[in-house]
């Protein structure tokens, strides 16, 4: 395996982007990354692209926008792994360079939620949910039962159950979710690409918002954003040849699936009873750290960008990824450890809780972790020295996880 670095990062402005079509949105992030790396499109040999299957209402969007991103006549491959897709696409780009197949590869992920005629992400979510419905059709399941399954709200529905499981397991309270959500909004206010900005937001502000589906308040829920994120990878020789100054090295990646945590989508049962187990995250982290040569993640890693559309997930995943003991992350939040200027900052960008263009979100964690290492995160750069950072994504059928460890030096230096 060859050493691989991220040499350029690009993001579109995220939010309601009715001013652009899907191809133009993707192009915005791609050309920003090419400019950031200070290279030309002719230097890129292959493209890894991906978004949520069906979300933008275009089945194979890569076919449509290839000539918006200079991919004509190049190798291009699309990934679709549900919510994780940004993470999986980032991994694919890395594999292509690490394997020696290409020297310079661009990876881009995106989502265009406003192309849904119904509010938020409804249309996109339902197009994924319908695939699951079809499964239920096969056994003639009563559609009224559908509404009480987590599946009815797709990731959001499942997350309400998951949050309740997590509270029972850890002893944390809704007030801790308020704290995490307030931190996310304050951090987002410092990030020019973020969607839901709220300077000086307090947990009390969040506590005033309506309870939507216990234990989740309106102030806990991520927005449905439009946006695209992009990274460019190069091997060691290409970094030198292209004269790139600032890079973030990929030290280790891993992706694991868990048993499908979908309440047994056919009512046929599942081995997963507690949706806050997230064994896939534990396995991904373990393997990625092993590959990165990291023995004590809490000590050796300096910050993390966690894929947490809902605040309980930041707590839950920060434990599964080995930063805190099982059931204790809320104590670290009480102590301010995960604040932007804390000892272990989590999601200084504001994270997925404030900006969720689903396909983009997994890639954006990689972008944000890389920017922190390169010291290019501008107003939301953490004050502490960042040598190693973790980018995580969650999705699939809510049971799939990806982890990437990035560093200021390649593994073994």
């Amino acid at each position: 395996m060859r050493r691989v670095a991220i040499i350029g990062c690009g993001q579109s402005k995220h939010g309601r982007r009715t001013d652009v079509n899907q191809a133009e949105l993707v192009a915005e992030a791609v050309w920003a990354a090419i400019e950031d790396a200070n290279i030309g499109p002719e230097d890129i040999e292959a493209y890894a692209v991906g978004n949520m299957q069906g979300f933008g209402g275009i089945c194979q969007p890569d076919l449509v926008f290839a000539d918006y991103i200079a991919a004509g006549g190049k190798a291009m491959q699309r990934v679709a792994t549900g919510g994780t897709v940004g993470g999986s696409t980032a991994h694919l780009g890395y594999y292509e360079v690490a394997s020696g197949m290409y020297d310079v590869v661009l990876a881009v992920s995106w989502e265009k939620h406003t192309d849904s005629a119904e509010p938020g992400a409804t249309t996109g979510l339902l197009h994924v949910a319908f695939a699951n419905l079809s499964y239920m059709m096969k056994i003639g399941m009563d559609m009224r039962s559908f509404a009480i399954m987590g599946l009815a709200g797709a990731a959001a529905g499942i997350s309400a159950y998951q949050a309740a499981f997590y509270m029972a397991r850890s002893g944390c309270r809704i007030e801790h979710f308020d704290m995490v959500a307030a931190k996310a909004r304050r951090n987002a206010a410092k990030n020019k690409y973020a969607h839901l900005k709220w300077p000086n937001c307090t947990p009390e502000d969040i506590a005033k918002t309506e309870m939507l589906i216990w234990p989740m308040r309106f102030g806990h829920v991520c927005p449905a954003s439009d946006g695209a994120s992009c990274v460019i990878y190069a091997n060691e020789d290409a970094v030198r040849r292209l004269g790139v100054k600032e890079v973030a090295w990929v030290k280790g990646v891993a992706a694991y699936a868990d048993e499908e945590a979908d309440q047994g989508e056919s009512y046929q049962g599942t081995a997963v009873v507690d949706y806050s187990d997230q064994t896939g995250a534990i396995l991904s982290a373990k393997k990625a750290y092993e590959r990165a040569g990291i023995k004590d993640p809490r000590k050796e890693i300096d910050m993390a960008e966690i894929y947490a559309p809902f605040p309980h997930q930041e707590l839950m995943f920060s434990e599964r990824l080995g930063f805190f003991d099982d059931g204790t992350a809320w104590k670290a939040v009480e102590e301010g450890v995960t604040e932007i200027d804390g000892d272990f900052p989590i999601c200084p960008s504001g994270g997925v809780n404030t900006t969720n263009a689903i396909g983009s979100s997994g890639m954006q964690r990689v972008v944000e972790a890389a920017l922190q290492i390169m010291g290019k995160a501008e107003d939301h750069q953490v004050p502490k020295d960042v040598r190693n950072a973790v980018a995580h994504a969650w999705g699939g059928q809510v049971q799939f996880n990806t982890v990437m460890v990035l560093g200021d030096r390649p593994k073994g230096w």
Partner: protein
């Protein structure tokens, strides 16, 4: 036993695509029977429908570089269709086959695809057929017809 439909679900799921500023201008201009193209400042490639990034050299094409075409064009290639879909999963055979053509509009580098009325051949000159009531929508441009 088979399950072939479901009803009574409390939602609908439709798409409403944003076409972007450039394409929006393209369709709005139909209200004045205008067809706009984007001309790349750098390489001169002129693409219709217009777009923000040149498909040839990938330069950004700004709104100032939108140009109005005459609407006249030449048939580059064509095909003949013998039937149409009836919207219920079946076919309707046409009394007279219809012509679909790749048309290069005057001043454009790219081609567009449209139905053509009249006895068209490769090389035929064509012009747009506009709807009686034009509203600045895709449906305004009905087809093209051979110039007599």
């Amino acid at each position: 036993m088979g399950v072939d439909r479901y009803s009574g679900l409390p939602f609908v799921a439709r798409f409403r695509w944003n076409v972007g500023k450039t394409m929006e201008k393209f369709y709005r201009s139909f209200a004045e029977k205008k067809i706009l193209a984007a001309r790349c400042e750098k390489c001169g490639y002129t693409v219709v429908p217009p777009r923000q990034i040149c498909p040839k050299c990938y330069s950004t094409i700004s709104e100032e570089n939108l140009v109005e075409l005459s609407g006249k064009g030449v048939v580059e290639s064509l095909t003949e269709v013998a039937f149409k879909l009836d919207g219920k999963g079946g076919y309707i055979w046409l009394e007279k086959p219809e012509l679909l053509a790749a048309i290069r509009l005057e001043g454009a580098s790219s081609t567009i695809f449209a139905r053509v009325e009249g006895e068209a051949k490769v090389g035929s000159e064509v012009e747009p057929v506009w709807a009686e009531k034009i509203e600045g929508k895709p449906s305004d441009l009905i087809s093209f017809k051979v110039v007599e």
